[in-house]
């Protein structure tokens, strides 16, 4: 039973990954859902578990794309190493951005990450010899997953690539879930709640925040790398302000403080966006209304809605037991905390 409690979200994610192909007819679209879910996971680790609202997640997505792109184009490395490079570069970028931003709190932190996002954008824009500038990096290949010359998993077709991304995704989710359940995760929650006290009982809060930032950067960088392979390009738009904004919105819409919520948020945002855009050229208006509705009526995000639906369904046969420490946070976190 205890084991099940620890693994229930990972099982849920595995189920989601298996069900997605049945509900989405395009492999590319399904892959995009998972990739953005990864990015949202990274964002949630910061927002939901450390209390850092980062408006700069696009930076890590972008540098992840560039890293994978450059390593595949110029170094001709195999599949996994190129993703590893994306993670490392993402983590390094996060280390840099984090190093400067975590001294700030609340809205100033948000603003500083935003400033960094813009700076990285303009840097990428200016350094066109490396990044391709506005055109981005083109012709990024997508190698198969192979070991000693034997192909373990082909990635050529959209659905093949989806399978690969799905495996990576479940793996990363499991790792992240493990992290947030660990001592580290709990300590991050404490820091989110009260930094002064956390420092007074002996924690180096900068170090812990930086750790969260680096993990987040690595995960988001991985997402960027996967994305670059999916589209065969590393465009400037991945590092743009809009990328940061979308990732943050997905995270908030899904619900903070529970990792699975981010999967819901990303799926919702990507699929709804994709669907709405075919309906009406002014679909962004619908999206805007949706965001307003979420902020007015779904304070725990989609995850909260799903949870209460579930609870209503199984109320007779006993309520859902282990509420995460983080689950009940949204309702009470005060605004002072952020300002």
């Amino acid at each position: 039973m205890n084991n099940f409690m620890h693994f229930r979200y990972t099982l849920l994610v595995t189920a989601t990954v298996l069900i997605l192909p049945l509900t989405v007819s395009s492999g590319t679209l399904a892959t995009e859902v998972l990739i953005f879910a990864l990015a949202a996971l990274g964002c949630n680790l910061l927002l939901g578990y450390t209390g850092l609202m980062s408006f700069g997640q696009g930076i890590f997505l972008g540098v992840g794309s560039y890293a994978t792109g450059l390593s595949l184009l110029h170094l001709h490395v195999p599949l996994l190493p190129s993703l590893l490079i994306a993670m490392i570069i993402g983590a390094l970028a996060a280390l840099l951005v984090g190093w400067f931003s975590i001294r700030q709190r609340g809205t100033y932190f948000v603003m500083l990450t935003l400033a960094f996002a813009q700076m990285f954008y303009f840097l990428a824009y200016t350094m066109k010899d490396i990044t391709g500038g506005d055109n981005g990096l083109l012709n990024i290949p997508r190698p198969n997953l192979s070991l000693f010359g034997t192909t373990l998993l082909a990635t050529a077709t959209p659905w093949q690539y989806y399978s690969f991304v799905a495996i990576v995704f479940v793996l990363v989710f499991w790792l992240l879930q493990r992290i947030v359940d660990s001592v580290l995760g709990r300590t991050l929650l404490a820091i989110r709640d009260n930094e002064t006290r956390a420092a007074a009982v002996g924690y180096d809060i900068s170090l812990f925040k930086l750790a969260a930032f680096v993990i987040s950067g690595a995960v988001t960088g991985l997402a960027g790398g996967l994305h670059a392979m999916m589209t065969g390009l590393a465009p400037l738009s991945n590092i743009e302000y809009h990328a940061s904004e979308s990732i943050l919105i997905m995270t908030v819409v899904g619900g903070t403080g529970n990792l699975f919520a981010s999967v819901l948020g990303a799926a919702f945002y990507v699929l709804i966006g994709n669907w709405l855009s075919t309906l009406w050229p002014r679909w962004l208006m619908l999206l805007g209304l949706l965001l307003i509705a979420v902020s007015l009526y779904m304070h725990k995000g989609l995850y909260g809605v799903a949870q209460s639906l579930l609870q209503r369904l199984k109320a007779p046969c006993g309520a859902y037991p282990g509420a995460d420490a983080a689950d009940n946070v949204n309702s009470r976190a005060t605004k002072e905390k952020h300002s």
Binding site: M111, F122, L284, K335
Partner: protein, 286 residues
């Protein structure tokens, strides 16, 4: 005149408009403690309202009065009937809401006025340029500088010199305490939110003859406003003024010194200020 002096003068001109654009964002943050991502959309509305009024035959001066008031009234309604219900929520819901609102407004503008931009002429009396030595400056921009300076004084007096201003500042510390003193803080919230939107609308209406109107001018304005308030200090009136002028000057000077980096420099300036003076030039500790 030396080219650098010319650019500084020009930068002040741009900066005053930036001030007007950003000051509302700053005031709203000061009281309501959240960053209003729909501020740019109010700027957009101000510009389009004044365009529409012009199309309907109203003269420029009337549009300059009516358009911002209309934006303010609209924001007042939004605050009173919708926004009010989410103050108690965590920070990210405010961002979600205002981002959503900005999207809705922007798309509504496109639906109604079309995706193409439009032009607005300055009034006849402000057409043409003034020549000061070899310094050429459009009359209209000169008017904008003078006008925003007057607005700045007026705003400053309201915020620092009146009891209302004191209540607004008190509310930025503790809203509950203000209501315990028998003051209707909700009304103050509405008022301040509307005032913030009004200044943005005014900036939009003023900017329209310079920039034209175009559905995406809001996003760009929001970006600038962010930089300005962060440099100046969130919630600070003088910060918005100093930040606006500084950004204007940096932008202008850079177009002579290193034109391709003008935009990058704004953000570098912002990051530098945040690292050296974490709360902005005029900000108080958070």
């Amino acid at each position: 005149m030396n080219i650098y002096l010319l650019q500084v003068a020009n930068g002040v001109g741009i900066g005053m408009l930036y001030f007007l654009l950003a000051v509302g964002l700053s005031i709203v943050f000061g009281l309501l403690r959240f960053v209003n991502f729909s501020h740019g959309a109010f700027f957009l509305l101000g510009a389009y309202f004044s365009f529409q009024l012009g199309e309907m035959g109203l003269n420029f001066w009337w549009s300059l009065l009516v358009a911002p008031l209309a934006v303010g009234a609209f924001a007042w309604l939004i605050e009173k009937f919708v926004l009010r219900h989410i103050y108690a929520l965590p920070h990210h819901f405010h961002i979600l809401f205002t981002v959503g609102l900005a999207l809705v407004l922007q798309e509504a503008v496109i639906s109604y006025w079309g995706p193409l931009g439009n032009n607005i002429s300055p009034p006849d009396s402000l057409q043409g340029v003034v020549m000061m030595g070899n310094f050429v400056f459009p009359k209209y921009r000169l008017f904008v500088i003078a006008f925003t300076a007057v607005m700045a004084l007026l705003l400053w007096w309201v915020l620092e010199g009146t009891r209302l201003g004191a209540i607004v500042r008190a509310g930025s510390e503790s809203t509950e305490m203000v209501s315990l003193l028998g003051l209707n803080i909700n009304r103050i919230f509405s008022l301040v939110f509307a005032l913030g939107a009004l200044t943005a609308g005014l900036a939009g209406a003023l900017a329209a003859p310079i920039r034209g109107v175009e559905p995406f001018m809001g996003i760009e304005a929001l970006g600038i406003a962010f930089v300005v308030v962060v440099i100046g200090g969130l919630g600070s009136f003088f910060g918005a003024l100093a930040g606006g002028i500084l950004v204007g000057i940096v932008q202008s000077l850079m177009s002579t010194i290193w034109s391709e980096g003008a935009h990058l420099m704004i953000y570098i300036a912002m990051a530098a200020v945040m690292l050296l003076r974490p709360n902005g030039l005029f900000g108080r500790a958070s």
